[in-house]
Amino acid sequence: MSEPGSIGPVEARRQVFNEPLTLAAGTVLPQWELAYETYGTLNAERSNAILVCHALSGHHHVAGWYADNPKNVGWWDNMIGPGKPIDTNRFFVVGVNNLGGCHGSTGPSTINPATGQPWGADFPVVTVNDWVKAQARLADALGIEQWAAAMGGSLGGMQALQWTIDLPARVRHALVIAAAPKLTAENIAFNDVARQAILTDPDFHGGHFYRHDTRPTRGLRLARMLGHITYLSDDQMAVKFGRKRRPEAGSYGFGVEFEIESYLRYQGDKFAGWFDANTYLLMTKALDYFDPAEPFGDDLAAALAGARAKYLVIAFSTDWRFSPARSREIVNALVKNQQPVSYAEIVSQHGHDSFLMDDGYYHAVVAAYLRNIET
């Protein structure tokens, strides 16, 4: 086997849908678009396609880099490429920016054809079910009747799980990584503080900040700082930052004194510089609403009973946002139904973000599972 490598330069594509899409919120999108990328080659049987679903702040640029900006490397490039765990020599991989996103798909920052203005706060709240529906339309457009696998980490893993429930005939395997079957009160609480930071920023203008030629960067920055804390682990923060000080520390003031403060502010600033605040609100709401068991009397096993996929569930030891116990709820429901499932619990110090990290055992597990998938 050759040395695992990058898929190389990739191009974002755009699919326009003229068939209306009815959303869970009741709104109908008459015409909409999805931004997506593909890697590898769809085989003649169209049986080797893998859908990669993104998490809260992700998008369709999953692997490779752009010719005009080689530094813009996909967010899961360590996972996808020739010889990598998702081997593009064998699989045709599709990355998609979800509806409501801010990377080219129809969302709050794109133009509402009814008004000629950005949708802003008028863009409907979208759910994980809506995303599955929209992704299925993309699959139709690409001629993919059935995914070999749907997969993702965090909110992406939730989409993979929802696929197997909503469209059981269209997905053979689901890789559900660092996810949970629904959010806890604590999870929702963190999301709401993040939303409140955005909603109360004077520059938010009720979601129509585009008209005022401004952006609620203070709120978005706070939201990201808070979120970022929940993606890390206490262990990792202790090792990386501890109580290390900045050179300007010791002033008995409120400037940046501890390294962790500097790090979080940097992360917040960076994120607020490019992400759309309305999209952030929508994504956190999609997380809060995600609860596939609810229509089945809160019985997750009943929700999964109609699924036909085989599952690989993966959790990380220091992930306290969606802890291993949450993944085991999914596993136990599947075992209760006597459905095929494997579960790996990876020892990692990187908290929730572990699913993005290049960990030998983690990647070996994904690679081994995918090698056994028939195409």
């Binding site: 055992y361 070996a364 597990v365």
Partner: protein, 194 residues
């Protein structure tokens, strides 16, 4: 390691049944059972074994054995298997009770400390090392040392019914008599008492 107990275990199960294999290693037993039409899941703690089990296309759940059963429903499986592992488990009674909670019946195999060669070793002043007890005393994963009679006595005390028993010698051949003396490895099929 050759696993002559697998043939005995597989012989007690039928196509279409479900099985949970505790400490499934690389999934060899589950693979064998899959070829015979059973649905199986394994619990395994060691990452290398979990990876190998996934490579072997068996359903493996990475978990600690003694904590791993709590999430399963009563009677979730037709069979629960604990092969060559009971002697490594500290909470012997709890694991047996849990196995017979989540399984309609259970299969347990373990090395017989009263095997004549083991008795000879102790008589000669040394802890036994054999095909079925392959460790030195200082690096053994085994924490419980017991015999066929000990196990049967425990079952009796716990109200566990012994449905079948097969006893093997060091070469894996069936032992027809004097089981607690001539048997190196015992395989039991057990169930809940009335």
């Amino acid at each position: 390691m050759k696993r002559p107990d697998f043939a005995v275990i597989a012989g007690w199960m039928k196509a279409g049944e479900s099985v949970l294999d505790l400490g499934c290693g690389e999934g060899e037993l589950l693979r064998l059972l899959a070829t015979r039409g059973l649905r199986g899941w394994g619990i395994e703690r060691d990452p290398g074994h979990v990876l190998a089990a996934i490579e072997n296309s068996v359903n493996v759940l990475q978990s600690d054995l003694e904590a791993g059963l709590a999430g399963f429903e009563d009677n979730a499986f037709d069979h629960v298997v604990l092969s060559r592992t009971l002697q490594t488990v500290r909470h012997t009674q709890q694991i047996l009770a849990e196995m017979l909670r989540v399984g309609r019946e259970a299969v347990v195999s373990f090395p017989n400390f009263a095997y004549w060669k083991n008795r000879m070793a102790v008589l000669n002043g040394r802890m036994p090392v054999s095909e079925d007890l392959p460790y030195q005393w200082y690096d053994t994963p085994n924490v419980r040392f017991f015999t066929l009679l000990d196990f049967e006595s425990l079952c009796d005390g716990m109200g566990i019914v012994i449905r079948e028993r097969q006893v093997l010698d060091e070469r894996g051949a069936l032992v027809p008599e004097e089981h607690n003396f001539l048997g190196s490895l015992a395989v039991y099929r057990i169930g809940r008492g009335a």
